[in-house]
């Protein structure tokens, strides 16, 4: 596909564009959705497309070209040019990275066995059966297989290629209307794929959650399951983008260098994480992906940046382009030193939340939000779990980070419908979390 990239770059330069980024994709994605222990639909997507970014005297524009004939490419470039000519420049645009760069292979990001996998339905059946064996009555979920090829060419000397695979499953198990559990498994190489573990966890939680009583309200110490905390960190990942801060969508606005979390909290973005679902060799302008410490020992160190925003703030790019909007690849909360048992024994009276969804903000810059526990919720009292229902976490993002009291020692990599940026997190114990419930 580099021939297409080169043609686009050549034509774009001929037309007088300045910075040009051509990012070609060839993707093969399969999906199997299931519910009530049966497959509801199976899908296949094969896509070939080019994402194009162009700059003309500080005016920037982008488009996706899916019809890759030379005639359409030339037409598209001319359309961009004529549309951009009368526009006002983006005064805070400072260019793209200067290549070329050297790239290293990242372990466990490609597996031929996934490319050659003919039929993934057996994995679905294994996950369903694992949940049923734990006592679930109804099992629903989704399985994906991915095979992606990326071709990047820029006007600043970058020509880069990456090829990756992935397989993942998300399983939700039900016993009655109110008793459910959820488990996920997302990996890049087939031999590490463990659909049974997702099914088993979903089934185990559903079984534990039987006959829940109305939950309490007030302030409670809360143990967040990795699945639940990953949701919050996934929202936070967007707020670590310098773009989100400028646009008024981040509680980290004006907090560089300040304490924003408990001292035991270190949060990173790891673009080159082996076996990470969001891992890539390079960002959208060709900068090699890397590990960036966002919060270290509770102190906010940096927003995620691309080259232009880095220059604007007199900093270095963090390898997170998005040309318009820098974004995280894999968010990682450094684990602590508690076993799961030790973490639960820390809580005399508290709540264990296994999953959350529907996180919404009252005010992004203040960080006020609420989110709804879904699936098993438990009162934790002297090591015993008692199922409850119908509560809501209503608190403030920074206060949750500041309230982190203990972290599990084992990390879990989470990626599913509600956790769009992959997150690696342990079990997390947070003190005095605001819990509310409907009163009528």
């Amino acid at each position: 596909m580099f021939d297409v990239n080169e043609f686009i770059l050549k034509k774009a330069k001929e037309l007088g564009f300045g910075d040009v980024v051509v990012l070609g994709y060839e993707t093969n994605r399969r999906q199997v959705r299931f519910a009530n222990n049966e497959i509801t639909v199976a899908k296949n997507w094969h896509e070939r497309k080019v994402e194009l970014f162009v700059e003309l005297e500080k005016r920037v524009a982008g488009t996706t070209i899916t019809e890759l004939s030379e005639e359409n490419i030339e037409r598209t470039l001319k359309t961009l040019l004529s549309n951009m000519k009368g526009m006002a420049p983006k005064e805070d645009y400072y260019g793209i990275a200067e290549g070329p760069f050297e790239y290293r292979d990242i372990p466990e990001t490609f597996d031929k066995a996934i490319v050659e996998l003919d039929e993934p339905n057996e994995y679905v059946e294994r996950a369903i059966n694992a949940a049923l064996e734990e006592g679930a009555k109804r099992v629903a979920g989704v399985l994906y297989t991915d095979h992606n090829r990326l071709y990047l060419t820029t006007s600043n000397g970058v020509e880069a290629f990456d090829e990756g695979t992935g397989i993942e499953i998300s399983v939700r198990a039900f016993i009655g209307d109110l008793e459910s559990g959820h488990g996920t498994n997302s990996v890049r190489v087939l031999k590490k794929f463990d659909p049974e573990s997702a099914g088993r966890k979903a089934g185990e939680i559903a079984k534990l959650a039987q006959n829940p009583e109305q939950g309490p309200e007030g302030k409670f110490d809360v143990i967040f399951d990795p699945l639940a905390f990953a949701n919050l960190l996934s929202y936070m990942s967007f707020m670590t983008s310098a773009y989100a801060a400028e646009a008024g969508f981040s509680f980290l606005v004006n907090k560089l260098g300040q304490k924003v979390a408990s001292e035991i909290v270190t949060i990173k973005d790891v673009g080159n994480m082996p076996n990470g679902y969001g891992t890539r060799k390079f960002d959208d302008e060709g900068v090699p992906t890397r590990e960036t410490t966002i919060i270290e020992g509770g102190t906010f160190k940096t927003f995620l940046l691309n080259t232009s925003m880095a220059r604007k703030y007199r900093a270095e790019t963090t390898g997170n382009a998005g040309l318009i909007m820098p974004h995280a690849w894999n968010i990682l909360l450094e684990p602590g030193d508690y076993t799961k048992e030790e973490l639960f024994s820390e809580v005399k009276k508290g709540i264990y939340i296994t999953n959350v969804w529907y996180t919404r903000f009252q005010n992004y810059v203040a960080g006020d939000f609420s989110t709804i526990p879904r699936d098993g919720i438990f009162l934790v009292e002297n090591g015993e779990l008692k199922p409850i229902r119908n509560i809501r976490v209503s608190d403030n993002f920074q206060r949750i980070l500041e309230g982190i009291k203990a972290l599990g020692k084992e990390s879990y990599h989470i990626h599913w419908w509600e956790v769009r940026t992959p997150v690696s997190t342990p079990y997390v114990l947070v003190k005095d979390v605001g819990i509310t419930r409907a009163t009528k």
């Binding site: 519910a35 296949n44 488009t63 009368g86 339905n121 646009a247 008024g248 919404r360 009528k440």
Partner: protein
Amino acid sequence: MHELVEFAVEKALELGASYAEARFEEKNGTSLAMKNGNPEGLEILADRGMGIRVLADGGMGFASTNVLTKESVAEAVKKAVKLAKAASRVRNEPIVFSDEDFHEVYYEVKMRKDFRDVSPEEKMELLRKVEEEVKATGVNVPMRYLGYSDQVWHKIIANSDGAFIESIIPRVSVTYNLVVFENGQMEQAPFVQRAFSGGLELIEKDEPWSWAVKDVQALKKLIYEGKKPPEGKVDLVISPEVAGIAVHESVGHPYEADRIFGREAAQAGESFVKPDMLGERIGSEAVTVIEDPTIPNSWGFYLYDDEGVKARPRYLIRNGIITEFLMNREYAAKLGQRSNAAARAINYNREPIVRMANTYLAPGDYSFEELIEDIKLGVYMVSFNEWNIDDRRYQQRYIGREAYLIENGEIKHPVRRPILEITTKALWSSVDAVGKEIEMFPGTCGKGEPGQGVPVWMGGAHARLRDIPLRRP
């Protein structure tokens, strides 16, 4: 393109599908953003492709391609049929579709001011106008994120049961996030959108800058004059905007038949509504909720759904009684009914699933003054920020952005963040009066995996809720 769509359907039947549907979609448009006065760049959208959905051996398969040649489409059809057959082996019962009347139809939404003839800089002027008007208020708004988007959606849908529907629907919208910082305090109006199906004239007439000005002035007033809302049992008047989110979340979603039958269980969730709840009371006599894709120029507009079924208004609640679910052909068959044309897909590469279009609380016969005149102590909630609902659509919460105290029948000072956290049945049972005028607000309804954000309107009339346990932050 018509031939290629027909070819896909015929090919699927040839390969052993018992039902086949092909949907060509083409979207063309532009989007622009402005952040704190800086133009953020232009995005040109030109996307087209075909999605093929089949039933074979009782299983369902879907495949799409953006290479629109006979070979590529044939390959996608082959995949869809193969996937359906393989999926059928992990099914307890075959998927069956309801019988429907199908038509050959062409329809188009006309633009009086065609946005395709307007230059990006002229469109950017709309955003600059929002900037200028907001600045002219003198309110300190340090963060301003503005977006403009237009798209023409062209679709051709054919199925093996005789549907052949072609449509052209233009859609245009302006979105903003405004952060007001005054007196050391900060308030925010995020993701506010004004949106229509039609031409640029609709946005110009709607004047999104006026909405933005109203928002920042209300937030400034809230900062300087806002007091704690009353707590405990009070009366609550909700605006059409708040009524809209409430009907969308707690009436529209739980009445989606695919949720009721558990198909969305692992993603968008299930429903407290069960198939045998048709005819049950869920709200007071005053509550009627209508779902209507056919409202001209609405953000959720369509006349035929993505299964080729003719759309009509759907009465989800009539005078407090559950009367109809939202259905596609699969779940209409399960219920022994006809589809009511709620199948929608956001693009050629997505399957049609059960969705809302324009959901609203039907008008009653009260003027706004009549709604508030006998309230001794209450709150008027005009707009909201934070909201969410559990996955069975029963426990929800809405927090007021702009809200006022009502005392002895009069609207008084602003109140800060009144919280309505309530069950669906309690909410709709508490309504004792509904206003005469309706108003609609756009939104993007998320559902499905992979996600499908479809354009919807939500709204209706003002509603008065009696004896509501209101909370403070």
